[in-house]
């Protein structure tokens, strides 16, 4: 009974395979189709790399890809800075005001995207800002900030306040204590917040749909606009490339993590060994001294 948890029974293995198939078959179909000579997604007429070649000279797609990446980068950097500052402020608030403000900052996450999109559009129109890069970046920042707060706050709760106080006692200025103690402590939270903002920003369609302008069309909108005629197969090629990039980034990160873990484990075991050795020496020295 107890051992079955660690070994895979055939049924469990089947379940695992089914789940991975469910997750990855659509992507696999897309990648296979990006090599299909025919424009059709159902008939295979031969292998080709044409779509990849054409992708890089398709100005509409490349421009919107650059737009998407630029907006995502700018918006997530700004949102990370804003969100981290907000989280630190929130952390030092009184309990009641804190919970109130936290709930308010979660509104954009809980709100249906379409409402956020429409209200942002109305705001920009009433402020007479014409739609373009600025509106797109502002709206992306506004929905990314809550994700950063959401990731940084728990890290702040985990940090020991006395560490910061100790730094002050040892002669740090508050600013130095903040950059040397607090920031490194909450760095993992800031990084996750940044990555989440970046992915959500790239992912976003609904809010961009309401706030894009004549100069700033993102990839999701370009693809959507193709649906009257036909989504061109270059999009398959692009999606395949994006998938591979994301997959390799994930793999590299995981490998590095495993390596780092191995190193620390080795270092720890080495340290333990050294420790026990030196203990023995001390013991020997003690007993010798006692003898004399």
């Amino acid at each position: 009974m107890n051992t079955s948890g660690t070994r895979f029974s055939p049924l469990r293995r089947l379940y695992l395979v089914a789940i991975f198939a469910f997750l990855y078959i659509p992507i696999l179909v897309l990648i296979v189709n990006s090599f299909n000579a025919s424009k059709s997604r159902t008939v295979w007429t031969g292998f080709t790399l044409d779509w990849y070649r054409r992708l890089f000279s398709n100005e509409t797609i490349i421009t919107s890809l650059i737009n998407t990446l630029a907006v995502a980068l700018i918006a997530s950097v700004v949102a990370t800075i804003l969100g981290t500052m907000a989280a630190i402020g929130l952390h030092n608030m009184k309990r009641i005001t804190r919970s109130l403000v936290i709930n308010l900052t979660y509104m954009p996450i809980l709100n249906p995207e379409i409402i956020t999109g429409v209200s942002l559009m109305l705001l920009f129109v009433s402020l007479n800002i014409s739609f373009g890069y600025l509106t797109l970046i502002l709206s992306h920042i506004s929905f990314c900030v809550p994700y950063v707060i959401l990731n940084v706050l728990p890290k702040l709760r985990q940090t020991d306040r006395s560490l910061y106080e100790a730094a002050l006692d040892l002669g740090c200025t508050p600013m130095k204590a903040f950059t040397k103690v607090i920031i490194p402590e909450i760095m993992p939270g800031i990084l996750t917040g940044f990555l989440m903002s970046f992915t959500y920003s790239i992912d976003d369609f609904v809010i961009s749909y309401f706030t894009y302008g004549p100069t700033s069309q993102t990839l999701s909108i370009t693809i959507f606009s193709m649906t009257r005629r036909k989504v061109s197969p270059e999009v398959n090629a692009l999606s395949a490339i994006i998938f591979l990039v994301v997959l390799s980034v994930l793999l590299i990160m995981n490998l590095r993590e495993i390596n780092a873990e191995k190193k620390t484990r080795m270092a720890v075991s080495a340290a333990i060994r050294n420790e026990s050795k030196s203990h023995k020496h001390e013991h020997a020295a003690d007993s010798n001294g006692g003898g004399e």
Partner: protein
Amino acid sequence: MKATRIFSAFFTVIMLLTLLTAAPPVFALESGWEIDYSDYDWTRLAGDNVTLNVYNWGEYMSLDGGDGEFDVNGEFEKLTGIKVNYTNFASNEELYAKLHSGGSTYDILIPSDYMIGRLIDEGLLEKLDFDNIPNFGNVFDIYKSPEYDPANEYSVPYLSGIIGIVYNTTLVDKDDDVETWDILWDEKYANNILMFSNSRDAFMISCFRLGYSPNTTDENELRAAAEELKKQKLLVQAYVMDEIYDKMGGGEAALAPYYNGDAAAMIADNPDLAFAIPREGTNHFVDAFCIPKGSKNKEAAEIYINFLCETLVALKNSQFVGYMTPVKTAYEALTPEQQANTMVYPSDEILKNTVTYTTLSPAAKNLIDSLWTEILSEVGASPWMTPVVLIAAVGISLWINIRRYVKKKTATN
């Protein structure tokens, strides 16, 4: 002495003039094509740092796709020195929403017929200065002064097409009459019929079948058309738009109404397919250039429209998209085989038997929208599906929980 000097000066001027006229000014485009610009000043705004914001349907213009296709915007930029910002929309309604909400600074729009009528009615379009668009003279007469723009003050046609039925010759009986909308209601093809997922085109088909005008605003007629669409729903495999390409290409369905230019592309991919134009009549749609109110670069926009009506440019666009070009000189530049392709260029008789959509009254539009929602949301062939799935889900979760509970009990005992 003086006289000879004057004479020689006069002579050089004459020489220069003859030289200029002997070699007509020609702009050699990147792709090796040439545009004669002796009679039109393309470069008048070259130094002004003008940027045009063009808003077009997706995949609806020949831009460089890597196969040496004609890059319309690139060539325009090189010829005129005017920069082009090109963005896309997916439906007329999306364009309307963008324009209506304000805050957008577009210079060129390419909406369809009925939307142009609506934009004119609401005063959202700028009147065109046709002196800047001499190439409008190249347009076929039947496209001039259309119903949606009766005085032809606001629009210049870009591309057009008609709706017909795409069918798979291996799945449809040879003896069956495909040149009628009735075949989309034929029970023999139950679950093998695809239908438009947009209300305007779906109601057009139903109205023509019943002998009504597709622009009807009569409530009884619209309700009758909706009743027919409800009956058809039992036979329809799916309500789709561009998925038709894959479904028909892969032989998943036998019949589907669609646009003629796209049908030609589908047939090129799958030779089993064919196209028929129902004799009851059909819709002839036109997408046309307009300039929205508030455009800051109206003259540059008119130069752009003129460029797109150039014979060569119109030809390239129509070949890339696969739709009919309204530019007569571009049509004449097609190869005889292309001209003879009645699928893309139907005969005048067929065109006479078509109707262009007009702007519907808000009341009729709302009625169509609510009827269409009713049609789509009505539970079709299997009303038992939802409760059965629900009961099964509840049952399974109950069973799992009970089993777990029993196991726990036996384990503790």
